[in-house]
């Protein structure tokens, strides 16, 4: 690991100033960053440690009914917060389906949003990777790419965003609060990420020094709590990234879908909101033919980036199953294996 300057700011303003310098990076738990630094994938000149900053670790219910989550809230603490888990069950389930208990105890909300892809070529410094070294090429394109993107990819980069947490968050219109050199601003989480295009090294719209200080979910997102699920297919039972995942959330009134939210993970360089599919669901009865039509709409633009045609079919099946499970009702308790696509649809205790 390359050596670095270690800076521990006392305030957010000091942090922003220290991190605006070229080569600086923020350090929160470091569960992704230290791994990248040990592998020589990233080599910051300066780490700005924000873990000692006060006021960034609260989960606060807002007067308008929304919730504000500080950037330093640990993944496990958010998932196990009783009010949060009850109000946003698909988000809690997604959090608990990711990583291991040790990592969830350390990893922060802000860090989860900004974690890097797990593309094997990005992690292998002997391979060409436009994201790691702009202009060097993409060895994933002709390589082992069955797990790579099927939506929004470019010739320059076919990597996927690995987060589970972000998938239900974009479905529920999460907003990030950012402190930067020009003050505070906020943007929709969905708009935080950039698709690779010809500059895959630029993964977000953040500018040097920008610090995510909080994440908000609007009051309206609570209206989906009775019919919300996150489902994730992975190559081993636990402690694995998604091959494909889906967050489905419905408002059902008198047997009709009033409003639907749908997003996919593991398919693109960003958590992928399926707006078209949501539109096809609204006003329909929650039944298999409707779900299949929505799934088809969600993947209409998909194309394989390599040996991954199967993900297009798999994503559609996961969407149908996630919508079916969401219709059946949010389980009263998160299943023993969160987000498992193999748990029985009936037999769990549900509330409607």
């Amino acid at each position: 690991m390359k050596n670095f300057d270690y800076v521990r700011p006392a305030t957010v303003a000091e942090a922003v100033a220290a991190a605006a310098a070229p080569g600086a990076a923020y350090l929160a738990a470091g569960t992704n960053l230290l791994d990248l630094m040990k592998g020589g994938i990233t080599h910051p000149d300066r780490l700005v440690d924000i873990t000692h900053l006060a006021g960034l670790d609260g989960i606060d219910r807002l007067p308008d009914g929304g919730v504000r989550i500080g950037a330093l809230v640990r993944n496990a603490d958010l998932a196990h917060d009783p009010d949060f888990a009850k109000s946003y069950p698909a988000v809690a389930e997604a959090l608990l389906s990711g990583a291991s208990a040790q990592l969830r105890n350390a990893a922060t909300v802000g860090g989860n949003l900004l974690q890097r892809t797990r593309c094997g070529y990005f992690y292998d410094s002997a391979s060409a990777c436009n994201k790691r070294q702009p202009g060097s090429g993409c060895d994933a394109r002709g390589g082992e790419n069955r797990l790579h993107a099927v939506l929004g990819w470019s010739e320059a980069c076919i990597a996927t965003h690995p987060s589970d947490f972000c998938v239900p968050l974009v479905a529920l219109d999460a907003v990030v609060e950012i402190e930067g050199r020009t003050g505070r601003r906020e943007i929709a989480l969905e708009a935080l990420y950039r698709l690779p295009g010809d500059a895959p090294e630029r993964e977000s719209v953040l500018q040097p020094g920008d610090l995510i200080v909080a994440l908000r979910l609007p009051a309206e997102a609570r209206a989906f709590s009775a019919h919300a699920r996150y489902l994730k297919v992975r190559e081993r039972t636990s402690y694995a990234f998604a091959i494909v995942s889906a967050a489905a959330a419905l408002q059902i009134e008198r047997g009709t879908i009033r409003e639907a939210r749908l997003a996919l993970g593991g398919v693109a360089a960003k958590p992928w909101r399926a707006h078209q599919a949501e539109a096809t669901l609204a006003g329909c009865r929650p039944e298999p033919a409707v779900f299949r039509a929505a799934a088809k709409a969600a993947l209409a633009e998909a194309k394989p980036s390599g040996d991954n045609q199967f993900k297009i079919e798999l994503a559609q099946r996961i969407i149908v199953r996630a919508l079916t499970l969401a219709t059946a009702g949010t389980p009263q308790r998160i299943p023993a294996l969160p987000a498992s696509a193999f748990a029985p649809i009936s037999g769990a205790s549900h509330h409607a």
């Binding site: 300057d5 990592l103 105890n105 023993a336 294996l337």
Partner: protein, 165 residues
């Protein structure tokens, strides 16, 4: 540039000068404090052999920079027994043969203590297996590990009830 940090390790306050900010908590424990019970397996947060408790929570010490944990309370495998009396989780691992080579065992035991403290898994073997999935055992002693965790939890719950009765 050097950094002064203070850690409480197994109940003892330690003031430590770090000459290099790159030192992980794992390397600090093993190389500086001679607490070699905490193991370095993958050193990349994938195997769980380096699991310790920080302020009562289990984490991977290989992915924690020591300098960032200034002020933390760290519990390692060396700090869980009371003299010659084993911690109930240690005793249960022996009783249920929850190990073969033993390399992953300190991490397994620290993770199990953390899991029981979290109180989410209860007496459900499925939840225990899921809650312990961050600790790999290449010998495949998982069946014994799961039994040990369930058994130790029962002992600890009973002991707590006796104390509060």
């Amino acid at each position: 540039m050097s950094f002064s940090i203070s850690l409480t390790v197994n109940g003892v306050r330690r003031n430590i000068e770090l000459e290099d900010p790159r030192v992980t908590l794992l390397d600090l424990l093993r190389e500086r404090l001679d607490l070699t019970g905490t193991k370095k397996g993958c050193d990349r947060g994938q195997c769980g052999a380096c699991t310790v408790l920080i302020d009562g929570r289990r984490i991977n010490s290989c992915l924690a920079l020591a300098v960032s944990h200034d002020g933390a309370d760290v519990l390692t495998i060396e700090g869980v027994a009371r003299g010659d009396v084993l911690h109930p989780v240690q005793a249960a691992f022996i009783a249920h043969d929850g190990l073969q080579c033993g390399f992953c065992t300190p991490g397994q035991i620290m993770s199990a203590i953390g899991l029981i403290g979290e109180g989410q898994a209860g007496d459900d073997p499925e939840r225990v297996r899921e809650g312990m999935s961050g600790n790999l055992c290449r010998c495949g002693a998982y069946a014994g590990i799961t039994e040990a965790v369930l058994d130790a939890r029962q002992d600890l719950v009973a002991a707590n009830e006796r104390r509060s009765a």
